[in-house]
Amino acid sequence: MGGRLTVWRPGSPRAPGGSWIRAHGLEVALVLPLVAYLALLTAAPIVETVRLSVSSPLDGGFPSLGRYRALLASDLFRAAFRNTLVVALLSLVLETGLGLALALTLHRRFPLRGLVRTLVLLPLGVPTVVSAAVMLLVFARSGYLNALLLVGADALGVLGIEWRFEPVAWTVEGGLPTLLTVAVADTWKVVPVVTLILLAGLQAIPEEVEEAARVDGATGWRRLVGVILPLLVPYLTAAVILRAIDAFRIFEVALVLAGRVEPVLGTFIWNRYAPPTSDPFTAAAAAIVLFALILGFVVLYLRLVAGRQEVTA
């Protein structure tokens, strides 16, 4: 990243008679520590990962696509890839939908709004590992979701509706129930982030715009789709991209809730690297695939949804 800075053209005219250093010395001094840090602890490790991923562990051959070929041939990797895609897309849909609904709710005025706002944002403060632990208590076979559903089945029975509910072992069932569990667990923790970003967007919409739509007789739904959502697009894009980056890299929650039955790329990479396998080469190649997946998603999203909107200034 740092390399870019050496080619920048000064933003302001040169100080008369002064050198470039004199005019911009302060800025350079301010940015240098950051550049040094990023070069050593971000850029260098990334280069190292790329190098590992195209090295051959057997004969030290370089460059070699052997690791990538091995990945493609691995059933476990293909399952991890598919699961990552499913979990990430599920949680993105859940998080964006719920986040938007919550932001619209909190943007209105109602009694106790401050309290509700605090409660709804609380999961933001729950560490990911803890959210995984909580969800283990909720989704286990003898967990609270099953208990609740059993109570529900009883209540329906009292009303004369026969519904036999068999407790589901959500986290060890495998397949869609387990992936859904992971997505829901992730959603619970991060919806507040999306809510905050979209709330910022809603507050940036001038009151007159909504007022004008109201005066023109647009109903609530039409105002939302026709007026508010288009103005929210930059914020939605920022939220989706920020979330996508983390959703595809999902790790702790998947490790705790689905670690033994459904691999995702995050846990796959972890297991390649960890002692029984100890294969940093394959781990690095899988990391690059995950990176490409995220980059691909973001580019695709920007092309399809955001059009020519630019996310940052």
Binding site: V31, L38, T105, L119, V126, A200, F291, A313
Partner: protein, 283 residues
């Protein structure tokens, strides 16, 4: 958007049914956010019989503090708590010391370069933390930084800085250059201008940034796992309890990890004006 500006707008009053529906929706949202945290509290005081079996009871009726005593007296709590706290503080300080000056310079770059730098920083976040973490762990082992507080804080910064830069570049861009020029005409040095003009204006954004950095470090699991051989951080302690502790012990450690943060979030979210984020997301 002041209260006064809102008031004159004549607004149709929603019907009772709509209001009821809205109230129910708000209640469900609040409950859904809160319940998992309550479950955690409840399980930490549950007797063993309340958690297992074909049909566990929904509520714990006979709380026991047996497991809390084990956790509090077992010596596996205070040291991780201290380490997590110290590392989070160091990470926050580092994020502000490295991030704020750097972001100021980036914010003063020509628009296209600035855009490229910020996007480039975000792209580094698309790599799994793992791939940066492994290489950092190897290097730290050579430097004697593995298993130190400083090493872990430095590692956490790799995850924090891209976000910090993104948030702060947006904030510094919002400071008009004319303001700085005016201060210069009044004879203030550039550094004084930064300290007395630019920093106060961007204080809310700096506070949000600090909060994010703190939370990231307090939450962080993977770097901690890779760089730790002796002293666990709290998230590692929770993970260990998931692996081989009782559910109650896991819940008790988790409660310790969560409670201070809930306090922080509850207090700070009042000041955490969404507007502080807006600078980063302008269309």
């Amino acid at each position: 958007m002041t209260e006064a500006a809102r008031r004159p707008a004549p607004r149709e009053r929603p019907r009772a049914g709509t209001r009821l529906f809205f109230a129910a929706w708000v209640a469900i949202c609040a409950a859904a956010a809160l319940c998992p945290i309550l479950v955690l509290l409840m399980v930490s005081v549950a007797p063993g019989s309340a958690l297992f079996g074909e049909r566990p009871p929904l509520f714990v009726t006979t709380p026991t503090f047996r497991f809390w005593r084990v956790v509090l007296e077992g010596g596996d709590l205070w040291a991780p708590l201290g380490k997590s706290f110290a590392v989070a503080v160091m990470t926050t300080a580092g994020a502000l010391v490295l991030g704020a000056p750097g972001a100021y310079t980036i914010a003063r770059l020509p628009a296209r370069v600035r855009y490229g730098v910020v996007v480039g920083l975000l792209v580094t976040r698309m790599l799994p933390e793992f791939s940066i973490g492994v290489s950092v762990a190897t290097r730290f082992a050579q430097l004697g930084l593995a298993d130190t507080y400083l090493g872990l804080a430095l590692a956490h910064l790799t995850g924090v800085l891209p976000l910090v830069a993104w948030l702060l570049v947006g904030a510094f861009e919002g400071v008009p250059r004319d303001l700085e020029a005016a201060a210069a005409i009044d004879g203030a040095s550039r550094l004084a201008t930064l300290g007395r003009v630019v920093l106060p204006i961007t204080a809310p954004a700096l506070a949000v940034t600090a909060l994010f950095a703190w939370l990231y470090s307090w939450n962080e699991f993977l770097y901690a796992r890779l760089l730790t051989t002796s002293q666990n951080t709290l998230p590692l302690q929770v993970f260990q309890a998931i692996d081989r502790g009782t559910r109650q012990q896991m819940a008790a450690v988790a409660v310790v990890l969560v409670l201070p943060i809930l306090g922080v979030v509850a207090v700070l979210q009042r000041h955490l004006r969404p507007g502080a984020l807006a600078g980063a997301i302008r269309g």
